[in-house]
């Protein structure tokens, strides 16, 4: 029951030292609150228009123990803990070790108040810094472990002025302080990265208790102080055992801060000779510190040094929680993963030699692996990939975003499409050129958005892909109309004999179909579909794959063949026909570029399409078709249901519903696809044998694909590192083999049973498979 007596902050804190509480600092507003409450007569919630349900679910509630941090009880030791007091070397090392573990605990989906800020040294340091910061005083003078509210606190603002201190005092005010400053700076970096590239709460909880995490402090200045402190510690190492551990902890913090150097590194995109040893040496040094530090033995931290104090004491919009600390082995693994993730993508991204390699790196090494990435490595990647100037890997001097778009188009339909040179064509009027620039701009934005998808968590990847479909669908309509118009009015654009080739629209359609298939199959990875929905998704995906294969093997293949034909046959004839002079020289120069640059690239793309893409899609199509057939048979035997209403069917396919081309399959087509008569067991067995043959051919296709990826003369040239792509296909291969066995077992069930309704005897079980896009579908006896 709320008391109407004047508020007394020590009322409910019998353990609290009364001398620590000064009631004069507080204003009693009890009367005003109750007076205001008396004015509310309509039983309605009084709130700001800007306060919504989401805010409500995060709202704190006074006097509710689950929601009111003001009710947290602290011990006398916690209340009186003096962060400015000297501590032993062992104690400093233990405090730092726990801080590192709490840092990784924060990055494991927790919040700062219950992890790093539970460290009293860090919270007091930040509290004092937030009040004291000024551009006119020296870095270390900003930071103090002094708690003004404690009686008789021994304090020193500057380490340099305290000449009479002991080693233990210096440890606190030099080593522990610079460690805490460095760690805090790294948290500040994470918060900034989080704001720019991650989702608040679901990826990283960024609520900072209104503390300034050293956002404006120069990291180089901190590193300089770390190095000075390390020098001092090394000079003391003869007389104190364990200094090497503290030095290693400081070196680790230095490496964490130095991670920001990856944003300053400007690569030459598609140049495999980029120099990154200055970055890899940081990653290697960090791993050395981690290996050393994780095997050391650490004592308990002194009582009161880690506490819920900050939750009670500071501006807190969080609910009360216990301190959250993951096991140390998990923390060290996670920290090691952070560095190895960043090391991997810095090395690989700077080793790619072509757009195709770069695209495969983004797909197989980043997007497909993203759930195993440390969250900060994910956030860093997004900012590392696309810089503030919108350049890719900072390559703005050599490759603009427009160039990147053209590279992307070239990798699908070949280079040198005439429509992409429209801006240089003097015969094209300014209106058409303006339209061209606007459309290229839209294409840039769409591709930019695609690049921003790869490093997000898998759930967001799915949502952003769904949104991207609308953009690419609209682009296809706009570009198709533009290409047709330019071709018919100005006869500009590649052609396929008598009709326009529409290379840009074809590229857009190709990209869109890829996104549509990704969206469908990644829904399986997110476990969105029930058994009967999996059939629709595989059936629909297979339909899209067949359209994609048709596009690649007909229109796109012809565009590329025609470009090759032009370079090899048409252009040389043009040269022959022209008399000697500047025009002939220009044509000859163009021929040289064509034969030395464009032709080899066209042949490379042709190889990539024929020896990889078409074979990969064919194998996937075979597998999806086999599983779809299998699911139809299971459905006929009443082991899985079907969509009973068109509404539910359309609802499942809603993400693709607005796409103009290709049209969504109708409910009628879906029902027709399910027709299978299982009244005669022999016929069922024959169909099942056919499915097994089909899936076995898929197995062979995947084996060939993997062999080709492993062979130096095969298609490995299209990957900068084939480790992940081989694993991806090996997992699908295992899936195919698993399905082949399942189909054999089900064939035996059909042979032995005399009924065309197996629902009373058997049930279908869906579980995690070898590959995330393919769950295991097992028929089990009931």
């Amino acid at each position: 029951m709320i008391s109407l007596d004047p508020l007394n902050l020590d009322d409910d804190h019998p353990k609290t030292d009364k001398s620590l509480i000064n009631n004069d600092d507080y204003v009693d507003i009890t009367e005003q609150v109750f007076n205001s409450l008396s004015l509310i007569t309509n039983n309605k919630v009084v709130k700001s228009d800007y306060f919504n349900l989401l805010d409500g679910t995060r709202a704190l509630e006074v006097l509710n123990p689950k929601l009111d941090t003001g009710l947290i009880q602290l011990s006398q030791i916690e209340l009186e803990f003096d962060t400015s007091a000297p501590q032993s070397l062992d104690q400093i090392i233990s405090i730092n070790n726990r801080s590192i573990i709490l840092l990784m605990s924060w990055l494991n989906h927790s919040s700062l108040p219950v992890t790093v800020l539970s460290n009293r040294y860090i919270s007091i340091l930040l509290d004092n810094y937030t009040l004291r910061r000024s551009p006119y005083i020296d870095l270390l003078d900003h930071f103090s472990f002094s708690e003004k509210r404690l009686p008789n606190n021994s304090t020193s603002i500057s380490t340099s002025t305290d000449k009479s201190s002991t080693f233990e005092y210096q440890l606190v005010h030099r080593a522990l302080k610079i460690f805490s400053i460095g760690l805090t700076k790294f948290i500040g970096i994470c918060l900034k990265v989080g704001q720019d590239s991650l989702y608040e709460e679901e990826d990283l909880t960024m609520r900072n208790m209104n503390l300034d995490f050293l956002m404006d402090v120069d990291p180089d200045e901190i590193i300089e102080h770390i190095e000075t402190t390390i020098e001092w510690l090394l000079s003391e190492s003869q007389s104190h055992t364990g200094v090497d551990i503290l030095v290693s902890q400081l070196n680790l913090i230095k490496c964490l801060i130095q991670l920001i150097l990856i944003f300053e590194h400007r690569s030459q995109l598609f140049d495999p000779t980029n120099e990154v040893t200055h970055l890899t040496s940081i990653f290697n040094r960090a791993q050395e510190q981690i290996s050393f530090l994780r095997v050391q033995e650490y004592g308990n931290t002194v009582e009161g040094s880690f506490s819920k104090f900050v939750q009670l004491d500071m501006d807190n919009k969080n609910i009360p929680s216990e301190i959250y600390q993951i096991p140390s082995s998990q923390a060290w693994d996670s920290l090691s993963t952070l560095f190895s993730n960043i090391s991997m993508y810095v090395k690989l991204s700077n080793s790619t030699s072509s757009f195709i390699q770069f695209e495969n790196f983004l797909r197989f090494d980043i997007a497909n692996q993203i759930e195993d990435f440390n969250v900060i490595a994910r956030g860093f990647f997004q900012l590392y990939l696309v810089r503030d100037d919108k350049s890719i890997l900072g390559s703005f001097d050599t490759l603009t975003l427009t160039d990147y778009v053209f590279e992307s188009i070239s990798a699908v339909v070949g280079p040198n499409s005439t429509i992409l040179r429209l801006n240089d064509d003097k015969d094209v009027n300014s209106q058409k050129q303006d339209d061209w620039f606007a459309l290229v701009g839209e294409l840039e934005n769409a591709l930019y958005q695609n690049l921003c998808i790869v490093a997000h968590n898998p759930c967001r990847q799915q949502q952003l892909t769904s949104r991207a479909l609308l953009v690419w669908d609209t682009l296809q309509v706009s570009w198709e109309s533009f290409e047709l118009d330019i071709y018919s009015t100005l006869q500009i654009g590649d052609d396929l004999g008598s009709e326009p080739a529409l290379p840009i629209s074809s590229y857009i359609y190709y990209t869109k179909l890829n996104l549509m298939i990704d969206l469908a199959l990644n829904g399986t990875a997110l476990e969105l579909y029930q058994d009967f929905e999996i059939y629709v998704i595989y059936w629909y995906s297979n339909y899209l794959i067949n359209l994609l294969m048709e596009l690649l093997s007909t229109r796109i293949a012809t565009i590329i063949t025609n470009k090759i034909h032009y370079i090899e046959k048409v252009h040389p004839k043009k040269i022959k026909k022209v008399k000697a002079g500047p025009k002939k020289e220009n044509l000859k120069n163009q021929h040289q570029i064509n034969t030395q640059k464009h032709l080899p690239y066209l042949l490379t793309i042709q190889k990539y399409h024929n020896e990889y893409l078409l074979k990969y899609w064919a194998a996937l199509s075979n597998l999806l078709e086999s599983i779809s057939f299998y699911l139809i048979v299971l459905s006929a035997y009443k082991l899985i249901p079907v969509f009973e209403s068109e509404l539910i069917f359309k609802s499942r396919l809603k993400p693709w519903s607005s796409i103009g081309i290709p049209n969504l399959p109708t409910f009628q087509q879906y029902n027709n696809s399910l027709k299978f008569d299982n009244s005669e067991p022999e016929k069922s067995i024959s169909i099942l044998n056919h499915i097994k043959t089909k899936i076995d051919s898929s197995i062979q296709q995947y084996k060939n694909l993997i062999d080709n990826l492993k062979s130096s003369e095969g298609i490995s040239e299209f990957w900068v590192d084939t480790t992940q792509v081989i694993k991806w296909y090996e997992d699908i291969l295992k899936t195919s083999i698993g399905y082949s066995l399942e189909i054999s077992q089900f064939t035996n069930i059909v042979k032995e049973s005399k009924t065309n309704d197996l629902s009373t005897l058997y049930k279908v079980n869906i579980s995690k498979g070898y590959h995330k896009q393919f769950p295991k579908i097992t028929v089990k006896a009931k």
């Binding site: 919630v45 349900l53 409500g56 709460e201 799915q462 609308l470 029930q530 509404l647 519903s657």
Partner: protein
């Protein structure tokens, strides 16, 4: 006097009796019902909610809160509750939202949750002609997911680390009208 005696013994709120359990509509003027509901929810849901959340739902959409009680002379306390709302979604379709379903553990596996959801669906369709119903549930709550899927809900999104306990959630939608199968950008605005 037990707390259950404070619950209004008002048969006007009684909707139905199933398996000897009474299904009532929440009475917004009954403070004791409000207290029992918030107590039941805070006891059995993982997310801690402030009083504002209860007020937000129960005061704005009291008609969409249904409670389950044992008939007298048994203990007449609330043993199950469903709390929902209905609002225009992006001003293009009417969306029902099931916010909380809580059943006292000793009364689980009796189909009470299913009855409450069915009752809510029925009322939302009749009273507000909704186009769809949406809700979220933890990915590990297999029982709840099965319940909703059996009623026709589809998992439409997975929400990364949605809950405070860091679990992912599934967003499920039950389509009621064709509007639910069309993307928002392609729907006309609702008439005001």
């Amino acid at each position: 006097m037990s707390s259950s005696d404070n619950l209004k013994d008002d048969n006007s709120s009684l909707i139905t009796v199933i398996d000897n359990l009474e299904y009532h509509q929440f009475d917004a003027s009954n403070q004791e019902q409000f207290n029992q509901i918030s107590h039941l929810v805070s006891q059995h849901l993982s997310e801690p909610y402030s009083i504002y959340v209860y007020w937000y739902f129960l005061n704005t959409w009291p008609q969409y809160c249904f409670i389950v009680r044992q008939p007298k002379p048994n203990d007449h306390n609330i043993i199950g509750v469903i709390i929902s709302k209905v609002e225009p979604h992006r001003n293009v379709r009417m969306r029902g939202y099931i916010g909380m379903v809580v059943i006292d553990p000793s009364f689980r596996k009796l189909g009470i949750g299913k009855n409450l959801v069915k009752l809510t669906i029925d009322k939302m369709i009749n009273w507000d002609q909704i186009d769809e119903i949406m809700l979220e549930t933890e990915v590990i709550n297999i029982g709840a997911i099965k319940l909703y899927e059996n009623l026709g809900f589809l998992k439409t999104k997975r929400l990364y680390r949605y809950y405070l306990n860091t679990h992912d959630a599934f967003r499920l939608i039950l389509p009621i009208s064709d509007k639910s199968t069309t993307r928002i950008a392609f729907l006309p605005q609702l008439e005001s």
